[in-house]
């Protein structure tokens, strides 16, 4: 019952801003329970994520997926159980871009908050704009960008926080099917270049099967993890389909 013993492995406070390419990060949840009034959102969740692993969490609406991410990010504390892990950053469900900042200033928000000058922060973000297909859109305001581009900027902002663990909350939920597929591939490539530990929450089982190393299925409220499905690294169409079917089966159970 050692509630709130979070961030045990964290190097919190040590040397922000961290360099962009940074490897590693792990997450450990043991017996985590979270209650809001009479509603038990999470009930005894155990979860271990290894460095550079991409774990997808799927589950029905309201099963506590977002709560799970907020616990990992330290935005909430568990009522019971422990959350340990490296420093984590949240990419909220909607992109959360600040409309009064240009795309590059949005992406470079973390360095600026850490005290970098505007130019230094932009210089840090610029190579990523080039590498991730956003070159030429540095000065654009968020409302001038397409949905997919906004998500890319939001993802870069998350990367530039320098934290080893990324918590992505339905990152492609608001995109059309085609853009969504494109962004899934983009995310996979981005993580090859900039390896991070990723905890991805989605209600799209196919998305989980396409991008994750491992798919966890959560039950309806109170949320607990009811199935764990590894995704074969070869990721052929039939394998993805099989993971999808297993996950759907677990969701129906």
């Amino acid at each position: 019952m050692a509630a709130g013993g979070s961030q045990a492995i964290s190097e919190r406070g040590a040397g922000r801003p961290a360099e962009v390419t940074r490897v590693g990060g792990e997450v450990h949840l043991a017996g985590v329970t979270r209650t809001f009034g009479a509603v038990r959102a999470l009930d005894g969740v155990d979860l271990d994520v290894a460095p550079n692993e991409l774990v997808a969490v799927v589950g029905p609406s309201g099963c506590g997926k977002t709560t799970l991410l907020e616990l990992v990010c330290g935005l909430q504390s568990p009522d019971a159980g422990t959350v340990r892990g490296d420093r984590a950053v949240l990419m909220p469900q909607r992109d959360g871009l600040l409309p009064w900042l240009s795309a590059i200033d949005n992406a470079a928000l973390a360095p600026r908050l850490a005290g970098a000058s505007r130019d230094a922060a932009r210089a840090q973000a610029h190579p990523l704009f080039v590498a991730f297909g956003l070159e030429g859109f540095e000065r654009a305001r968020p409302h001038e960008l397409s949905g997919g581009m906004r998500q890319r900027v939001a993802f870069l902002r998350t990367l530039l926080s320098g934290k080893p663990v990324l918590c992505l909350d339905e990152p492609f939920g608001a995109l059309d099917a085609l853009t969504r597929r494109e962004m899934q591939d983009w995310l996979a490539q981005a993580l090859v270049r900039e390896p991070r530990t990723v905890l991805l929450v989605t209600h799209d089982v196919e998305e989980a099967a396409r991008v994750a190393h491992r798919v966890l299925v959560m039950s309806p409220r109170p949320g607990r993890i009811v199935a764990e499905i590894p995704v074969p690294p070869t990721r052929t169409d039939t394998e993805v389909l099989a993971v999808r079917e297993r996950a759907l089966e677990a969701l129906r159970a």
């Binding site: 935005l75 949240l90 909220p92 305001r141 001038e144």
Partner: protein
């Protein structure tokens, strides 16, 4: 075009009605009489307009600064909000007509009681719109700021304050419209110059056209201030005027 036609029709109708002699000149002067008063009394009107304009301009400035600071203070402190907010609402129930002469007795015929009255009628819309906007900032953005290790002040500086700026400017636009009335009330209560003072003198002298001319100037001044704020809004908060058709630069 249509707007101009409507104004022309209204003025024309007024002119015809007044010229027909149904009402005495000193009750309802014709627009042409008002226009000639605007010209004939231009020196008098101008010097008094300068006085009132200064009162209104400074009064709004005081109201904006106080209103914004107060909204921020109320936003940061729940106790302050619960304690002070009802008092703010109550302050708006204070009848200016009663309080204005008392302020004049207190502070004299100078600009101070004018500023106090204008600020009193103007700061309320600024506080309410700013505070509401500060409190309705997207909670996702605040969570994001926290996971990026932003301090409370940084969250305010980067997320809350810019989000509240358009609302603060809307509050200021409302304030401009009532500021002019506040200034006239303040001058009625006791002054030796200003357009309100001029009107107060013109009516018993049966110089009704001059009083109307003062009203025209006050209205024009309010419109000018309002437009200036609208312009400032476009400059300061361009993101609030997004164009739906997409990229424009």
């Amino acid at each position: 075009m249509i707007a101009a036609a409507i104004v022309a029709a209204l003025l024309g109708g007024w002119e015809l009605y007044a010229d027909a002699g149904a009402v005495d000149d000193f009750i309802l002067p014709a627009p042409s009489q008002i226009a000639s008063s605007l010209w004939d009394d231009r020196g008098l009107l101008w010097s008094n307009l300068l006085v009132t304009a200064q009162e209104v301009g400074l009064g709004i400035l005081v109201a904006l600064v106080l209103g914004f600071l107060l909204a921020v203070a109320l936003h940061f402190s729940g106790a302050l909000r619960r304690g002070v907010y009802p008092l703010l609402v109550a302050s708006q129930a204070v009848p200016i007509v009663i309080i204005a002469p008392l302020l004049v007795v207190w502070f004299g015929f100078g600009i101070v009681p004018k500023l106090a009255i204008i600020a009193l009628v103007c700061f309320f819309p600024v506080v309410v719109t700013t505070l509401d906007a500060l409190r309705s900032v997207d909670p996702d953005q605040l969570k994001l700021m926290r996971t990026l290790d932003a301090s409370r002040w940084q969250a305010f500086r980067w997320a809350e304050a810019p989000a509240a700026l358009p609302a603060a400017l809307s509050g200021a636009k409302i304030a401009v419209a009532v500021a002019v009335i506040g200034a006239v009330f303040a001058e009625y209560a006791g002054s030796s110059e200003g357009l309100g003072h001029l009107m107060l003198q013109a009516i018993p002298q049966l110089e009704t056209a001059r009083a109307y001319a003062a009203v025209v100037l006050l209205a024009a001044f309010a419109v000018l201030l309002f437009s200036a704020l609208a312009l400032a809004e476009r400059r300061l908060v361009p993101w609030a005027h997004r164009r739906p058709e997409g990229p424009d630069r």
